[in-house]
Symmetry: C2
Subunit: 210 residues, 2 copies
DNA sequence: CTTGCGATTGACTCGCGAGTCAATCGAGTC
DNA sequence: GACTCGATTGACTCGCGAGTCAATCGCAAG
C-alpha cells in the first residue's frame, strides 16, 4: 500500500484536494489537472491511485455516506429516545457534518445526491437507504401513535430529509445566513417545523410571546 | 420572426426536443446533435435559433420559473385564503406542474434548481425569489399568530419548498410511487406535514384509529 | 555498488462535441 | 423567369481535457 509511516499518504492528499476543487469549481467544471495542482502532485499520480475522475467522486461519496447511514442506524438503536429525539439527532448529525466538512458535504449534495441523473444514478440505492432508515424511525412513531397515521413513513422521511437538504443548500449558496448560531438553532427548529408543524398548536412548544 | 402561420415553429420544436433529451440523458451527457435529431432538424439550425446549448436550458428554465413566480404571487394575492390554504395552492401548483410536464420539471429541478453550482448560479436570484414569495405567505401567518414565532419565515419557506422538491425528486427517480392518486394526495399531505406537523396533536386533523 | 520495484513525473495522444460557415433551398415579389 | 433573403443543411474546425505511457526517482535489500 501507500502507507509508509512518515511519508505523506498521497492518496488521501489527492482525495482531499479533490474535495476542495470539486467544491470550488464543481465536478464538471474542473480538470483533473486542477486536482493534481491543488494536491501539489504530478498529473499522472492521480491516475496511479484512481482509475478515473469519477472514481474519486464515488469514493468521496461512498465513504461519507456510509458514515451517515451508520450514524442513523446507531441513533435509531438508542431505545431510550423518542422518535422525535431520534430525528433531532439525525438532523444534528447531518448539520454537524456540514459544519465540520462543508466542502465535502457540498460536493456530496450538489454533485451526487441532487444530481441523481448523472452520478446519483449509480448511488440511488445508497441514497434510498438513507431515506429508508429515516422512514424506519418515523414508522415506529406511527405505530406507537405519536405520529399521524395518514402520512406514510416514506412520505414523511422524504419531507424531513428534503427540508434538511434544502437548509444545507441555503447555507451553501448563501441564501440563508450560515453562522455557528444558525446551525445550532436549525437543528432543533427543523425538527420542530417538521414534527410539530409550522402552525401554533396547544400541544407543542408554545410560541414565544412578543 | 419564425411565426409564419401554417409553418411549424421550428424554434419551439427545438426547445421541446431539448426538454425531452435533457430529461432523458441529462444536460451534460447529451450532445447538441441529440437535440437536433430529436427535433428532426439539421444540426446547424439549432445554432440559427440559439447561441449555445446553455441558452436553451436558460430559456426553458426562465420561461417556466417565471410562470411559477407569477402563480405564487397570484395565490398570495387571494385575500380570502388562509396562509395554510395558500401554501396548499402553492404545493398544488408545483405538483400539477410536474404532473403535466414531468420532463420539463425534471430538467428544471435536476439541471438548474439543484445544480446551483453550474447553471443554478446564474439563476440564483430567480430561485431565491421563489423562496421569498413563499416566505411572504409564511410571514403573514406569523404576524396573525397562526404560525410559530420562533421559526423565521425564511427558514420555514426553505423547509416547505425543500419538502416539495424532495417529493418531486422521489417521483422522478422512482423512489416514491408516481401515480395520479399519489400526486393528488401529496398536495394535501405535504401541507399537513409541514404546517400541522408529523406529530398527532389535538388541534389538527385527528389520526385515523385502527 | 547494483539491482528491483513501487512511487512519481509530465509530455503526449486522441476522441469528443460545441460551435462555424459556405452552400443550398424555397417562398414571396416584381 | 430572375432576384432576394431568411430558413435550413451538414461537413468541417478546433480546443479542451481525460486518460496513457515511457522515463526517472529513490528507497531498501543483497
Amino acid at each position: 500500500m501507500s502507507g509508509r509511516s512518515g511519508a505523506v499518504d498521497k492518496r488521501r492528499l489527492i482525495l482531499d484536494a479533490a474535495i476542495t476543487v470539486f467544491a470550488r469549481q464543481g465536478f464538471h467544471h474542473c480538470r483533473v489537472s486542477d486536482v493534481a495542482d491543488q494536491a501539489g502532485v504530478a498529473y499522472g499520480l492521480v491516475y496511479h491511485y484512481f482509475d478515473s475522475k469519477e472514481q474519486m467522486l464515488n469514493e468521496l461519496f461512498l465513504e461519507r455516506w456510509q458514515i451517515m447511514l451508520d450514524a442513523i442506524g446507531e441513533i435509531d438503536a438508542k431505545t431510550d429516545l423518542t422518535p422525535r429525539q431520534k430525528l433531532r439527532e439525525v438532523a444534528g448529525f447531518i448539520i454537524d457534518s456540514y459544519r465540520h466538512e462543508p466542502d465535502l458535504m457540498k460536493v456530496i449534495i450538489v454533485e451526487v445526491t441532487r444530481a441523481a441523473n448523472s452520478f446519483g444514478r449509480l448511488h440511488l440505492e445508497k441514497i434510498r437507504e438513507a431515506y429508508n432508515r429515516i422512514a424506519v424511525i418515523v414508522e415506529a412513531a406511527r405505530r406507537d401513535g405519536t405520529f399521524k397515521q395518514d402520512i406514510s413513513s416514506e412520505f414523511a422521511a422524504m419531507c424531513f430529509y428534503g427540508a434538511i437538504e434544502q437548509l444545507l443548500s441555503g447555507w451553501i449558496f448563501d441564501l440563508l445566513p450560515a453562522t455557528e448560531d444558525e446551525f445550532e438553532r436549525a437543528k432543533s427548529l427543523v425538527v420542530e417545523a417538521i414534527c410539530g408543524g409550522l402552525e401554533v398548536s396547544p400541544s407543542s412548544t408554545p410560541a414565544v410571546s412578543g
